[in-house]
């Protein structure tokens, strides 16, 4: 019961932050609020027992992404314009999508139930085999690196590729080629 209460309080704060992001036009404030949003969601991940995820969210969401968004604002404009169209059509789209999703959750197992399908197949298997196969205390690291090593290799490659993409878009590679052309 206390869990539900904590989660609900955190949720109210998250939703209030998100609504403030909707209302604000000053992009600096919006970016700071999104940083607050990340920290609050990290707290929620702790209450959901996902300490590794909370750690990552706090480091990535509140740290790096805030810096990058501030960098983007410095390179663009500090103020967002109010949209000229009315919010009527987007509201309808959002309400319809939300209603469809709520309808989808009606068949889901209750939150935290130990006999949900997710808890009865692979999950317990990983938990019982990790001490014998890998013998490290942190089950998340064991699954990340060993049982699902291919997956993590792919994710590392994606991070690398995204980094190359940003470098191609933003760094002075094009300028360097123009210089070479002049020399020829």
């Amino acid at each position: 019961m206390i869990d539900t209460f904590t989660n609900t309080v955190l949720f109210v704060m998250l939703v209030l932050t998100a609504l403030a992001i909707v209302r604000m036009e000053r992009l600096f404030a919006v970016v700071m609020l999104s940083s607050v949003f990340s920290l609050l969601s990290a707290l929620l991940f702790v209450t959901l027992d996902a300490v590794d995820v909370a750690f990552t969210e706090a480091a990535v969401g509140a740290g790096i992404s805030t810096v990058l968004m501030l960098g983007t604002i410095a390179l663009t404009k500090p103020e967002a314009k109010r949209p000229r169209h009315t919010a009527f059509v987007p509201l309808i789209v959002v309400c319809v999508t939300g209603a469809a999703l709520v309808y989808g959750t009606l068949d889901m197992p209750a939150f935290g139930s130990p006999d949900a399908p997710a808890q009865t197949h692979v999950g317990p298997d990983y938990l019982s085999r990790t001490p014998i196969d890998i013998d490290v205390p942190n089950a998340v690291t064991a699954i990340l690196g060993s049982y699902r090593g291919f997956d993590t290799l792919g994710e590392t490659a994606v991070v690398f590729t995204a980094g190359i993409g940003v470098l191609l878009l933003l760094s002075g590679l094009r300028r360097r080629r123009e210089d070479e052309d002049e020399e020829i």
Binding site: V15, I21, F45, A80, K81, A110, P131, I143, V159
Partner: protein
């Protein structure tokens, strides 16, 4: 539909409802706002609420974080481990990598925004659309004779 109003059902599913409220706030920002940086932030909110939803599937009531106790030889203490209830670690693994990939793709989007500002001198979607329409009109005006010859 009647079970929807029972208290037990509601306490079991209130979390999903709250995730969806958060998700739809993110979707609203993406659909309604025209500033591209705000769109990216809305996308982030949407992404984080999907992460919460996914992690919540692995949560077990009265469970704890999946980190096992150790004995004095720095091995996992399997006897002590059996007595503790753990949450499912699999969603944590998937979401952990998804967060880092998410920031990498977000930075790619931000880099695109910087380049868009350099080409159009604005990061507002409606302004960009107007500029592009004007460019098309000018092109049509300029190459009107070509179109006439073709027809």
């Amino acid at each position: 539909m009647g079970k929807f109003f029972e208290l037990q059902f509601l306490t079991g599913h209130i979390h999903y409802l709250l995730f969806i409220v958060l998700m739809m706030t993110g979707l609203f920002i993406v659909v309604d706002k025209t500033n591209l940086v705000k769109k990216i932030i809305g996308l982030n909110i949407f992404q984080v609420s999907v992460f919460m939803f996914y992690v919540s599937i692995g949560k077990v009531t009265d469970g704890t974080a999946p980190i096992f106790p150790m004995d004095s030889n720095y091995h996992v203490d399997q006897a002590a481990m059996q007595t503790i209830l753990y949450s499912n670690p699999l969603p944590h693994v998937l979401i952990l990598t998804a967060i880092v990939v998410g920031i990498a793709t977000t930075s790619l989007g931000l880099a695109l925004i910087v380049r868009i500002r350099e080409s159009f001198n604005t990061i507002d979607e409606e302004d960009i659309l107007q500029i592009e329409q004007k460019m098309t009109r000018d092109d049509n005006q300029k190459y009107k004779y070509l179109l006439r010859d073709m027809l």
